[in-house]
């Protein structure tokens, strides 16, 4: 590196050429031959440059940032575990330590030496520190000749360079033993976000003397933070899949000690190092530092120039995507900008210098200008920035003022259940009643579990597995049939999408509409707000700029559910279903290029396009993440395999397993169709959950290679025809950068040999401007997909609020505001020339036209099927019913075997299904044009309109007829089957009793007393009559009359009457009649202690008779009047009076309510009962009387008369 910089400084090589040189292995035509010559000698070092530069910058800055927010990663150390192909050639040169200055023998020797070190089986290198070139104490620090510091404070001499000097530091020195502020590696910050895996970024780099394959990679390091070894044993389970990473670091102090030793050794061994430095001139100031050393600098190159040069090279590397993670570098730069220690007391002649961070920011202005409005505001208000570069500040302010990219705070959606859809969820979709009812219960258990999780998962000490595990497994245990599994998986997946997908939302809280809390409060209130927030919610761990993959919020529920269910079948079905849905969404037709029509109308359209794109993208990411989770679940472990042999055997095994989803093919398709902006983000989600072996497998390795290539190609500054839109690129850079930092992705994968990259040129269909060229990504989507970009803002905000920045200030949640289902778009089915013509037709029309036509076709096609069901099929079903009735009449009640009946009917009816196609065509022909016309703008040209209509008709017809021709027979069969079982059931005994029912008259206002009230009232009368009762209790005759009147009203108004109630009313009325006949109703008041007047009783019986005859619509159990029990009531009364019974019997016959013979039968059977002798005799007399006489009014007929008068007399009287 030093050599390169030297060339630059000597102006032998331009920065552009150097960066070109770094970026490409081959010479470029732009290169000046002289430059090429200067650089070609350095070729072995080329790949070392960027990692070295990054590590150098981190190392330099580490003094300034001891207590900053989560620190950006360092570039990988060059000797870190290689993802090399097993058996492949070792990667040479990595171990070489590049030196910033001078290109002497020592550096080239080191470069030459490295391969051998590597070949040595990655065991101990030539000396401690050798293994990690980037961390090596090359000539630099020696050259500087003191503690290099990133920012002010350079004045301090080496001896007084205590970084925590209170006079220089505004905030308190970090308390390293405070576990909360400096969590030990692998420990979990408290709070809901605690289930995250510590990523390598907070691992201090251990320079271990013994570094085996099994050691976790820790190449990206933090500033020197002491590991707290005592806390390491209690590393909780923090990874997304439930295994903590083993603590991977040694004490940094120890490490520093090693470095120091190494340094002094080198000083002794290679004097040329220092020599060369002095030759070059003054010690290099800190690259970001002030220029205090300058005055002592007699050399031709000033420190300032060097600083600017480094900043320029660094910026160029960022711009050319030579760094793995753009946002990480921005974060790093902002960290430097906001570092506490930079607020140094003005010390004598110390002038604020145009710090390198600001210079880098200037170079990255374009990216910054695309950040959200809040970040822009904080940047624009940053006083340091203003101080160092008023110009940049001005540009940022302008960008802030012009920005509409507000990313809103939104509430997480509360759970909404997946709705029941009869088409997929009703009984017909299940193999048996049992399966149907089991699934019914499972749905309820699932949501019960979900609700419980919602209520309790934030409670301290609550554990998913303990709380819900057994219930989940019990439920899964019931899913025996494969069909049930697929039902459950569908429910699971839909619920997952509904709860966790975070769409751009509908209306309300999308971009720039919701009030921005930060800007409303202003910076000065931030601290207060933050404290408030901290009190309200558990301190949120922000996860830093490179958080490991997590399952935030509701996703945690689904992950834990999968883990707790631990069901192989479920996982398999889930993978199948997720893969299918991913394929479906990934190939969804999304907006096509809009003609360059920038008026408001197309803007409105674009909002819709963006929203749809965002929904599809976010759904895909979610599904892919879960697919990755489930697919790699069996292989996932906390560590890579411990030995090479084991790794090789695992690789041999794994390379045979076909991927759960052919993501490589999908990626290639995506690139070819210029849909990387859709495909890559979900692919990244999928890969982020891969295990350690995956990147080593040929299949996935090739995917990574393609992704690397893509990453390199996404140069933000390139803006030409056919290029990807800026925010699209930014999104891809962000997700890819993030992926390259995932612990399971080999750290040096990014710095792969270019030879491979160049070989993988993807040929895109250049003529077509795919999704990549559409402005489909906005800031809201960017921040939703990459919440870690928000860390920039947190960093700035926490500086403003004066917080220690430990928790990164505010946690800005970008969460979905609504959950809306994905409108599935129809797959393109048309083929041939017509289809091509149709495509061509849409090509030059606004995308909304195409959507409209497709939408209409889809709906009309679907409606057509429904219509056929409701007309043709329904007709056939009613034919089936009448045929069945005939069958039943001819064959007797049971009609024969239902299965056979069904066959007969179907063979007669199914042929009629052929009409469905004709009718379907007619339907689509009739309905589609109107719908298209209604949905398209009035001004649509007639020709366009009619073409659109015709296409819609064609598509709708195709859809409907395809479905109908495949399914109509089965549909008819199913409906007829249901009708047959319905009809057969209706033949049952109860059906006859139902009969015809009348409603109430048209004029009825439904004011009649309620049946329940009447039953209750009559029950009271009955209970009074039966007793026991208090002496003062009784019924007034008026009340009885009123009651019967009400009964009549109720029976006439049938509004509230249901058959069971009417039946009970009928029975109660019979009981009441029996009590009247037996004179058992206790009458209120003293005058008539004996009971009702006979006349009154007779009147009441008359009313009852007429109710029975005219008003009851259910059969009245009149035979009960002659049941032994009711007749027996007469036995208890003295003197017995039979006249009312005889009267009643005659009236019953008279009114046709009972037949004579029926009554005779009842009376006959009464004789069989056990009665007192006198009662039997009286009964016999009554019987004879009834038999002998036609009806005649009998005012009084007493028992005495029955007995005393002989039969002749009675007869004569009658």
């Amino acid at each position: 590196m030093a050599a390169v910089l030297e060339s630059l400084l000597r102006e032998e090589v331009s920065v552009a050429a150097a960066v070109r040189w770094i970026a490409r292995s081959a010479q470029s035509s732009e290169d000046d031959p002289g430059e090429a010559a200067a650089l070609s000698s350095l070729r072995p070092l080329r790949k070392e440059f960027v990692p070295f530069l990054l590590n150098f910058l981190r190392e330099q800055s580490s003094r300034v940032l001891p207590q900053g927010p989560p620190t950006p990663a360092k570039a990988p150390g060059s000797s870190a575990a290689l993802p090399g192909r097993p058996g492949g050639p070792p990667r040479g040169g990595r171990g070489a330590r590049s030196q910033l200055f001078p290109p002497t023998e020592s550096s080239s020797a080191a470069a030459a030496e490295a391969p051998s070190a590597r070949r040595g089986g990655r065991r101990r290198g030539p000396g401690p520190g050798r293994e990690r070139g980037g961390r090596g104490p090359g000539g630099l620090e020696e050259g500087v000749g003191g503690e290099s510091q990133l920012w002010p404070g350079g004045r301090r001499s080496r001896g007084s360079g205590s970084p925590g000097s209170p006079s220089l530091v505004r905030s308190d020195p970090p308390n390293l033993s405070n576990l909360e502020e400096f969590p030990p590696v692998g420990s979990v910050p408290p709070g809901p976000a605690g289930r995250t895996k510590p990523s390598r970024r907070i691992n201090p780099t251990p320079v271990s003397e013994e570094r085996s394959l099994s050691k976790p990679k820790t190449c990206f390091t933090s500033p020197p933070i002491n590991c707290v070894p005592s806390s390491q044993p209690s590393v909780p389970d923090t990874s997304p899949w439930g295994h903590g990473l083993p603590p991977g670091c040694r004490s940094l102090q120890e490490e520093r000690e090693m470095l120091r030793k190494e340094r002094s050794k080198q000083l002794q061994q290679s004097p040329s190092t220092t020599c060369a430095t002095s030759e070059l001139g003054p010690p290099l100031p800190s690259w970001t530092g002030n220029l205090t050393a300058e005055s002592a600098d007699p050399a031709r190159v000033s420190s300032r120039q060097r600083l600017e040069l480094i900043a320029l090279v660094y910026s160029s590397c960022i711009a050319e995507n030579l760094v793995p993670n753009l946002f990480l570098e921005l974060f790093f730069v902002l960290q430097l900008l906001t570092a506490r220690r930079m607020v140094a007391t003005k010390d004598g002649d110390l002038e604020p210098s145009p710090g390198a961070p600001v210079q880098v920011l200037e170079h990255q202005f374009q990216v910054l200008s695309y950040l959200d409005k809040g970040t822009l505001k904080l940047l624009a208000e940053n006083e340091r920035l203003l101080c160092f570069s008023p110009a940049l500040q001005g540009r940022l302010r302008a960008a802030y003022e012009g920005s509409v990219a507000k990313v809103s705070l939104a509430m997480p959606p509360s759970a909404q259940a997946v709705s029941f859809q009869p088409e997929t969820d009703n009984r017909a979709n299940f193999s048996s009643d049992r399966a149907f009812h089991t699934f019914k219960k499972q749905r309820d258990v699932f949501f019960e579990v979900l609700r419980e999780w919602e209520d309790r998962h934030e409670e301290p000490g609550w554990d998913f597995e303990k709380g819900l595990g057994s219930r989940i497994r019990a439920m899964m245990g019931q899913l025996s049939a494969a069909c049930s599994h697929s039902h459950f998986v569908r429910l699971f997946q839909k619920q997952l999408l509904q709860m966790c997908q975070s769409p751009g939302g509908t209306g309300g809280t999308v971009l720039g509409e919701a009030p921005d809390v930060l800007s409303m409060l202003g910076a000065d209130k931030l601290g207060r707000l933050r404290r408030l927030q901290e009190r309200l919610v558990a301190p949120q761990s922000s996860g830093g700029p490179c958080p490991p993959p997590t399952f935030p919020g509701c996703q945690g529920f689904f992950r834990d559910f999968i883990l707790s269910a631990s069901s192989f079948q479920f996982n398999q079905h889930l993978m199948d279903s997720l893969s299918l849905k991913i394929r479906e969404l990934n190939s969804l037709a999304l907006p096509q290029p809009e003609p360059s029509d920038e008026d408001g109308e197309s803007d409105v359209d674009w909002q819709g396009e963006r929203r749809q794109f965002a929904m599809v993208l976010l759904s895909l990411r979610l599904l892919a993440k879960f697919l990755g989770f489930v697919a790699f679940l069996p292989y996932r472990g906390p560590e890579p395999p411990p030995t090479r042999e084991l790794q090789d055997s695992i690789l041999a095994l794994r390379s045979q397993v076909p991927p759960a989803l052919d993501v490589r093919a999908l990626l290639q398709q995506g690139l070819r169709a210029r849909r990387a902006v859709l495909t890559v983000p979900w692919l990244v989600e999928f890969l982020s959950l891969a295990d350690h072996i995956v990147p080593l497998l040929d299949y996935y390795r090739s995917i990574f290679t393609v992704l690397l290539h893509l990453h390199r190609s996404l140069v933000l500054s390139k803006e030409s025809e056919g290029e990807m839109c800026f925010l699209n690129k930014l999104l891809l850079l962000a997700v890819l950068g993030w992926l390259f930092q995932i612990p399971t992705v080999p750290e040096d994968l990014f710095f792969l040999e270019e030879g491979q990259l160049d070989a993988l040129e993807v040929d895109t269909v250049a003529s077509e401007l795919g999704l990549d060229g559409m402005p489909v990504v906005d800031q809201h989507l960017l921040y939703t997909c990459c919440p870690y970009i928000g860390e920039l803002r947190k960093l700035l905000a926490s500086w403003v609020s004066g917080s220690s920045g430990r928790s990164g200030g505010f946690v800005r949640k970008i969460t979905p505001t609504t959950t809306t289902g994905l409108g599935a778009q129809p797959p393109r089915t048309s083929q041939g020339l017509q289809a091509q013509l149709a495509q061509a037709f849409f090509h030059n029309q606004p995308p909304s036209l195409r959507r409209t036509v497709e939408f209409v076709a889809e709906r009309i096609g679907s409606n057509c099927v429904k219509h056929i069901k409701a007309t043709l099929v329904a007709d056939l079903v009613s034919q089936a019913e009448s045929l069945l009735q005939e069958q039943l009449v001819t064959q007797g009640q049971d009609g024969g075997d239902p299965a056979q009946l069904l066959e007969i009917l179907c063979s007669q009816l199914c042929p009629h299904g052929a009409q469905a196609l004709t009718q379907g065509r007619e339907f689509c022909q009739k309905k589609s044009p109107g719908a298209v016309r209604a949905l398209l703008p009035e001004e649509t040209p007639a020709a366009v309109l009619s073409s659109a209509e015709n296409i819609a008709v064609g598509l709708a017809t195709e859809k409907a007829c395809t479905w109908l021709s495949a399914n109509i027979t089965a549909l008819i069969r199913r409906e007829v089957k249901a009708a047959v079982s319905r009809t057969l059931r209706a033949q049952g005994p109860e059906a006859a009793a139902r009969g015809e029912r009348r409603g109430c008259s048209r004029a009825c206002e439904h004011h009649a007393p309620l049946p329940s009230h009447l039953i209750s009232e009559i029950k009271d009368v009955l209970s009074l009559a039966v007793g026991p009762r208090d002496p003062e209790e009784g019924v007034s005759p008026d009340h009885l009359e009123q009651l019967l009147g009400q009964l009549g009203q109720t029976l006439q108004c049938r509004q509230f009457l249901c058959p069971p109630a009417e039946q009970h009313l009928a029975k109660c009325s019979v009981d009441l009649a029996s009590l009247l006949v037996a004179d058992h109703i206790p009458v209120l008041g003293p005058p008539s202690p004996r009971g009702l007047e006979r006349g009154q009783a007779r009147r009441l019986l008359h009313v009852l008779l007429s109710l029975w005859k005219d008003d009851f619509q259910v059969p009245v159990p009149l035979q009960l009047l002659l049941s032994p029990r009711n007749v027996g009531l007469l036995a208890d009364t003295r003197p017995r009076e039979w006249d009312l019974l005889l009267f009643l019997l005659r009236e019953l016959v008279e009114k046709g309510l009972m037949g004579r013979t029926e009554i005779e039968d009842c009376l006959g059977s009464l004789r069989d009962a056990q009665w007192p002798k006198d009662f039997s005799e009286e009964l016999a007399t009554l019987f004879h009387l009834f038999l002998a006489e036609p009806h005649r009014p009998e005012p009084q007929l007493r028992a005495c008369e029955l007995v005393q008068t002989n039969r002749g007399t009675v007869l004569a009287q009658s």
């Binding site: 259940a417 749905r443 019960e448 439904h1006 009271d1020 209970s1023 509230f1056 032994p1124």
Partner: protein, 281 residues
């Protein structure tokens, strides 16, 4: 009639060990004149049912049954017209209808060759005329007409009340021009769980979205509400989203705590209904 938990407890306190008779009910109404009769009856009935559920087992041991049967036999042996069975039930603090069932079952076991089926017993309880023994038939009938918490008549009344309120609710929905699918239509479509009404177009009540309405012609106490939540309301929510439950006879105020979650309680048909506007005038 929405009661606070404290008000409810006060009423429930008065119902301990009160037999489910006409007379008890009358006294209760005198004690709480401000409460509606229907609410009181509903609370009474539910409290009594809880009591019976708790003590059910002890009345069904074979010793208990034997002892009841002997006491019954002795009683009717002395005087068949006396309310032997009813008094026995009140004495041992058990529902008269249920006591009648115990004795009837025991009686039939003794007199029939095969043990009586449930449906035969039910049928005899509905129509005691079918009971072969006249004295027992009268005793059973007396128990049934005097029991205001159990028995076929009470069941029918409850069923009728439920039905009437559904009809009432349907009328109100029609009157408000809210289109809906009722239980029967839903069942015909193959829904596995069916609230009384699903609104075809959701409305908002007091700011809460309502997709379905369930009518409950009873008082919503803790016990029944929990059971309903588990068996019905959450199941509806699981399928159709948030909804409204109308407890026509009131409920305990504190139970209306799931509004935000999607289950709203009311004691009457809501007046504040916001519907979707199709066009802004």
């Amino acid at each position: 009639m929405i009661l606070t938990k404290a008000q409810y407890d006060e009423i429930a306190q008065c119902l301990v060990s009160v037999p489910p008779t006409r007379q008890s009910l009358r006294k209760l109404k005198q004690r709480f004149p401000s409460q509606s009769q229907a609410t009181l009856l509903s609370i009474f009935s539910q409290e009594y049912q809880k009591h019976i559920k708790r003590t059910h087992a002890k009345h069904h041991t074979s010793e208990a049954i034997e002892s009841y049967y002997q006491r019954y036999l002795n009683g009717v042996g002395r005087n068949g017209a006396a309310p032997v069975l009813l008094e026995l039930a009140n004495e041992v603090d058990y529902a008269p209808s249920l006591m009648a069932r115990i004795i009837l079952e025991r009686f039939l076991q003794e007199h029939e060759e095969t043990p009586p089926s449930k449906s035969v017993i039910n049928s005899m309880l509905r129509d005691p005329s079918q009971i072969p023994d006249g004295v027992l038939a009268n005793q059973v009938y007396q128990c049934i007409v005097n029991d205001c918490c159990y028995g076929p008549l009470v069941d029918c009344i409850k069923h009728a009340i439920g039905h009437e309120h559904e009809v009432l609710l349907r009328d109100m929905l029609l009157e408000k021009n809210l289109s809906f699918l009722d239980e029967d239509q839903l069942r015909a479509k193959g829904y596995d769980k069916t609230p009384d009404f699903i609104l075809q177009v959701p409305v908002a009540v007091e700011g809460h979205i309502i997709h379905w309405i369930e009518s409950k012609a009873s008082f919503g106490d803790e016990c029944s509400h929990q059971a309903y939540l588990h068996d019905q309301f959450w199941s509806y929510w699981n399928r159709f989203g948030p909804g409204l439950v109308i407890y026509w006879y009131g409920f305990i105020q504190e139970l209306d705590c799931n509004r935000e979650r999607g289950i709203l309680l009311k004691a009457c048909f809501p007046t504040d209904i916001v519907t979707l506007c199709h066009s802004v005038a």
